[in-house]
Symmetry: C2
């Protein structure tokens, strides 16, 4: 494909993408296919000779779309949202074209620098304590990880490294393996200190855990993967109180802040803790500005660059901060707050509908965009209801278990979800519930 053909095909793809997203609610939200459906639809081997673009593109609807769960359908209420917005798609196109691998400052200075500044922007939007910001002379700062799992792993390894060093400084002869075998990670049943758990969007008491961690020298990592986006609204910011006790904090703008996957933002108070755990410096990554730089830029005096590859598991990384930059500028803080508030209002609307139907109960406090609810009655009954909902395929939900109870989760997900979709979903759920209760009276 030469550049001229790319211009044509690219524009066709823009239209395909626009059509797909514009008409997504007409597609069945959850697919009909059975496991293994795809293998028989395509050849067993890659073609020897090139195929035409027409051949490829017609297979999107024939092969791919029948097997897609449409996460951006306004009838998708499963899991948690995954972000999608036009500015982010545009930025990703640009990122794909630049195609730099930003593992060091020299590998593409803009990639490292824009990321540092964007994480400061976002840190300020969240009103994070100053210590978490890089600024021009801070000791802290932020980095984009792929997912919250990676951020947690990074925090865990950094915590381990810090503790091992601390113990070795008192007792240099002690074998490292012996120290490691004695280390303990404390967690709730959702692992680390969590703001907004996946099953029910519950919140740990970090204002209580935090001071204990600080006194005992325990690394506190806070994961607010879903809920974190809401903290840009002053009315939800109190949920983040206690972050001042944390060593590291992360959440996923790729869930609820309109920045397409993947973009999990992580901040640390002391970036040397992270770098100590990950640093590697082969000659082929050295560059003139190795010790000058970006995260701790002390203007014109002592300067130190920290290559972002020392902050993460992967060596390579895409230019993901472009997505943040495009989205934040084109929505503005207000636009992003509006998006969060709209979703929370829709969840409250759904909660109100559930509360007036005596057959149902709310199973967990509705704090943000997730409603946990169930039919009063057995787990089997609720499992049967969910099965009917998902088999009908008009909306899509997933369950969770709360204190032994089978619970349905209704998460407001798509950017384009409106009140009418919530109302329709509830009408559909209650109709299925009525049929179920008629067949199996409680």
């Amino acid at each position: 494909m030469d550049t001229a053909e790319f211009r044509r095909r690219g524009k066709e793809m823009v239209d395909y993408v626009a059509d797909y997203l514009e008409n997504i609610e007409k597609r069945q939200v959850y697919p009909d296919v059975e496991p293994g459906y795809l293998r028989s639809l395509i050849p067993e081997e890659a073609p020897e000779q090139p195929e035409t673009y027409e051949d490829v593109v017609k297979d999107i609807e024939r092969v791919v779309m029948p097997g897609i769960t449409h996460w951006h359908s306004p009838y998708f209420f499963a899991y948690f949202p995954t972000a999608n917005s036009f500015p982010a798609i545009l930025a990703d196109m640009l990122s794909g074209a630049i195609g730099c691998v930003g593992f060091s400052w020299a590998a593409s200075p803009a990639c490292t620098e824009l990321e540092t500044v964007m994480l400061d922007w976002l840190g300020k939007m969240l009103n994070l304590p100053e210590e978490f910001l890089a600024g021009t002379k801070g000791k802290g700062g932020g980095v984009i990880q792929g997912t919250a799992s990676e951020a947690t792993l990074v925090a865990l390894l950094a915590a381990r490294c810090r503790m091992v060093k601390r113990i070795l400084s008192d007792d240099p002869e002690r074998p490292e393996a012996d120290i490691i075998s004695k280390l303990v990670a404390y967690s709730s049943d959702q692992f680390c200190a969590t703001l907004g758990t996946t099953p029910s969007c519950a919140f740990d008491y970090i204002t209580e855990i935090g001071p204990i961690c600080n006194t005992e020298g325990i690394w506190m990592h806070i994961d607010a993967a879903y809920a974190g986006s809401a903290f840009i609204c002053p009315e939800f910011r109190p949920l983040l109180d206690g972050v001042e006790f944390a060593d590291s904090f992360n959440f996923n703008p790729h869930k609820w802040l309109l920045v397409n996957f993947d973009c999990s933002t992580m901040w640390v108070k002391n970036r040397t803790d992270i770098i100590a755990a990950f640093k590697m410096d082969p000659l082929y990554l050295k560059h003139d500005h190795q010790e000058s730089g970006i995260h701790t830029l002390h203007t014109h005096t002592h300067t130190h660059t920290h290559s972002i590859c020392h902050w993460q598991i992967p060596l390579g990384r895409r230019f993901r901060s472009l997505k943040i930059w495009f989205v934040f500028r084109m929505y503005g803080l207000r636009g992003l707050q509006d998006h969060i508030r709209k979703h929370v209002a829709l969840a409250k609307e759904f909660e109100a509908l559930v509360r007036v139907d005596e057959r149902f109960q709310i199973s967990a406090e509705v704090v943000l965009g997730l409603v946990c609810f169930r039919l009063k009655g057995s787990n089997d009954l609720n499992e049967a209801l969910l099965k009917r909902i998902n088999s009908a395929r008009r909306i899509h939900l997933v369950p969770c278990q709360l204190s032994g109870r089978f619970v349905l989760r209704f998460a407001v997900c798509a950017r384009t979800t409106e009140s009418r979709h919530v109302q329709e979903a509830w009408a559909h759920i209650t109709q299925l519930a009525t049929e179920l209760l008629r067949q199996f009276p409680q």
Copy 2:
């Protein structure tokens, strides 16, 4: 931005991308900026109100481009290539629009299934032993990781898990921490068994290491991050001999197989080894086809789906196999082989130029697209030469260290690199060398 505006802006972006790549060789390959350049060019905080797209787009040239190292310039000979092709960019646009998070089969069946089949396609292109393929009843199979570092970490954790289980089965009372403290990972000075190291593209003797690993029950992981792409050419496939002894193998199509970053493909012979190390099954990820499915699809009899999130560190994942599908079909195996062969031929052409200049020496066997070379003389002299090359900014190289010697690496990187770029680069290098030797005669 509404859909109508996205259509317009998307097409403008397609043109911007096409223009950028079409004219990339006119841009200076390595930027002039100093560390910290970017922060002062943009506001300290995200805007409160939305900005226009014009505001954003004009900052691409003002803020971003001055800080880009142009990896796709034909004058870029640093590190290793990172892939970039039009079909991959188109596929990524589609992937961005679908925006599914494929952590389980149900989360988007096509995402899991296409990946499994694409890894079989690629495995066949590499002539991997049948055991590494999923097929419809294999025990092995492939998965896309973000980077080779992640693949290595996954292999390491799986190896540890398998060994701990093996020891526990003989000695169930033994504390796990005690076992772990006794485990040993053997590696060369580039870590695991490596085909095509980063400094010099050297190859470990896996036909010798392999049988020992097998006899001793040691997990053998082979990393061929860069070189792996070449194994689709029969003439380079012997370099992969011995893979039959490996438990896991990975390489990065995002380096040299025209599939944009990130796409690191990993195969295992026994996927239960991996799943044992990573499995987690919260209720919200369960689905009807949980035990039916994709990787071990025994048609109509016993079926098991393995959610791909059990194969990796992250829970979420993008729909990356679309890029493979588009690229393999639009290039065909032949087109991809041509690309590899062209790069190897260009490296040989450069090697020949170096060999006829008596002032220079070749520092490592040229097997694929990398030439390691140096001026006969001191490390300081070669460091001075590299500094002049990179300061002139007409081409971009990075060094490596081989047996204590400072060596220059010339890697053929961009898809559009042609003979004239290699010739120009050599003329430029020799001119700088002549000037250097005139000032500092040896």
